[in-house]
């Protein structure tokens, strides 16, 4: 009898699904709701007072705040430089790896390596590479005679964002490459043959066959990479943030995620930070949606 009970389907379902439901409810959905609740209060752990409800004041305060606008602008700047850079690199490498040649498997494995390394390591690697006193980039360029003296690549504030996007590209380009490669492999060879017969040049074939047919792949890659670049954190932490234990954060590379971390876990302004996290959520969703719709519409029009 007991064996019968134990083997019934509902017991199986309860055993495998309940822990999952419990974990997700307790660790994801409940805190998400709670965070929203806190975003409506002026909770600040530095000040000893019970938090009071303040309505949407935190949201209003953020939107009117100069630092918030500056940080948001910087995040979008990172996205706007990173995405084209990344897509260009990925498209080039995908075209190359789509060729048939001996050793392609090995090249592909090695090419995708950076994507699988920890982001904090990648930031460190490049910080050391670009180091002004002993960095390898200086040594390399100096040896080639391209620079007369060592450059401090990471000194000028206005250059920092550029290097952040380079390192982000280096960290992430493997993913769009894989997506584009899959797209390339699904384009039938007859299309190219037919275009060849019609006298289309190699560039023309790329322009009028490859790129239009790859648009859906580009769309997927763009959405995923937008989210990755918009929520950049690890790479900046070790590249330029100077995230030392008690020290300040480099203000010139402070993006939304770093700002949010600072608000909540350094300044302990929980209510304000909670509001910021919801603003970031809304911005990610909105931009993601716009991306998807534009790319989708374009794809429909091209056909």
């Amino acid at each position: 009898m007991s064996r019968r009970l134990f083997s019934s389907d509902s017991v199986y379902l309860a055993v495998v699904l309940l822990p999952i439901i419990l974990l997700i409810a307790l660790f994801i959905y409940y805190p998400a709701v709670d965070t929203f609740g806190q975003s409506l209060t002026n909770r600040n752990l530095r000040i000893r007072r019970p938090p009071k409800p303040v309505g949407l004041a935190n949201y209003v305060k953020l939107v009117e705040d100069d630092e918030f606008r500056e940080v948001t602008g910087r995040s979008f700047k990172v996205v706007i430089i990173t995405l084209p850079l990344e897509m260009a690199v990925a498209f080039g490498i995908a075209m190359l790896l789509n060729q048939r040649f001996p050793g392609r498997g090995v090249v592909r494995t090695l090419t995708f390596l950076p994507w699988m390394l920890p982001g904090v390591v990648n930031g460190f690697l490049w910080g050391w590479l670009l180091n002004g006193e002993y960095g390898a980039l200086n040594g390399f360029l100096y040896q080639l005679g391209l620079i007369q003296e060592y450059q401090y690549w990471l000194r000028e504030p206005e250059h920092l964002i550029f290097w952040v996007t380079v390192v982000q590209t280096w960290t992430r380009y493997a993913f769009p490459t894989i997506i584009l490669l899959a797209g390339l492999q699904s384009i039938p060879d007859d299309l190219y043959d037919a275009a060849k017969v019609d006298g289309a040049s190699a560039i023309g074939r790329v322009r009028f066959i490859t790129i239009p047919l790859l648009l859906p792949s580009f769309g997927i890659a763009l959405v995923v990479e937008f989210i990755a670049a918009f929520q950049i954190f690890d790479v900046i932490w070790t590249l330029t943030a100077g995230g030392s234990a008690g020290g300040g954060m480099n203000p010139f590379t402070k993006t939304l995620m770093l700002y949010n971390y600072e608000l909540v876990f350094r300044d302990l302004r929980v209510g304000l930070g909670a509001a910021l996290s919801y603003i970031i959520l809304l911005m990610s969703l909105a931009v993601g949606l716009i991306f998807v719709m534009r790319v989708y519409n374009q794809g429909v029009q091209e056909q």
Binding site: S10, L23, L117, L125, W128, Y134
Partner: protein, 294 residues
């Protein structure tokens, strides 16, 4: 146009290999340089202009230093970090192996349920789990921090494992559901007619056939846990639970610490993912891209 067919093919390959060299330099140069730095002597590494692209006397001294004395300051002293490497490695291994193991088991059981069973609330539940994937976790993290504090799970390995398992669940459940769905159902139906219950069915028929899927889920989960920085950054305070990614940033945070030592720490931090990416890339690419594309 005087080139023969063979000549043309040779030219094509030559161009391809030159381009491959460029791509590989871009992909591997930073990794090569940090590996070289970690086995260089200080004199060679700090030579200006730098021109030694492989150390003339490779040495493992930096590794010995960071594991036994802590990183060297430039002025000669040592930072009090000797045990951090040991605890960091231990914590990273425990967290990533445990999280990956637990999530693989849970996802296999649930994957079978979603793929092969009918029950009330199945679709809404699946949707609720999958909805987590596009959601930025940050909105949960803030309140989760205070929840973990109340549960006394801050700065503990158990707390970290619980969080990682939860965050890894959606992708893993989704991967296992598709894997189980791809197993021909005739075999299972036959076993069911023979009177096998769900547990027997999953254990003796689904498990062996779903093994490639489970390996992929395990490897992807282990890699993402090992590489993660934000979660342990928020939820750990001391060497009781700080994994390698956090330990590395503690080294970097102390200016004046020697670059050859930091390079050694960076190599230690990236070695497991590096090896996994070399030897199991097929699994990883499959799991990671499926998760993002859906």
């Amino acid at each position: 146009m005087t080139l023969g067919l063979r000549g043309q093919e040779r030219l094509r390959l030559a161009v391809i290999y030159i381009l491959c060299a460029v791509v590989l330099i871009w992909a591997l140069a930073p990794i090569y340089w940090v590996a070289v730095s970690s086995i260089s002597t200080r004199q060679e590494l700090y030579a200006r202009p730098y021109k030694i692209w492989f150390p003339s006397q490779p040495t493992l001294e930096s590794y010995q230093t960071i594991f036994t004395q802590g990183a060297k300051f430039r002025s000669g002293g040592f930072s009090p970090t000797a045990h951090l490497m040991g605890t960091g490695l231990r914590n990273s291994i425990i967290i990533s192996v445990a999280s990956a193991g637990i999530v693989t088991l849970m996802a296999t059981g649930a994957g079978y349920a979603f793929a092969r069973m009918e029950f009330r609330g199945k679709n809404p539940l699946f949707l609720l789990i999958m909805l987590m994937i596009p959601l930025p976790i940050w909105v949960s993290l803030i309140a989760l921090y205070f929840l973990m504090a109340q549960l006394d799970l801050l700065d503990t390995l158990v707390g970290l494992i619980l969080i990682f398992v939860t965050l890894l669940l959606p992708l893993s459940v989704w991967l296992m559901t598709t894997f189980v769905r791809d197993i021909p159902s005739e075999i299972q139906d036959a076993a069911r007619v023979d009177g096998a219950d769900r547990w027997r069915l999953v254990y003796s028929i689904v498990l062996p056939l779903a093994r490639p899927g489970m390996v992929a889920v395990f490897l992807v989960s282990m890699l993402s846990t090992w590489n993660n920085f934000l979660i342990p950054k928020i939820f750990t305070k001391t060497d009781d639970s700080q994994p390698m990614t956090v330990v590395l940033t503690l080294f970097i945070g102390q200016y004046e610490v020697a670059w050859e030592d930091m390079s050694a720490a960076a190599v230690v931090t990236m070695l497991p993912p590096f090896l996994m990416a070399l030897f199991f890339q097929r699994y990883l690419v499959r799991g990671l891209t499926m998760g993002a594309v859906k």
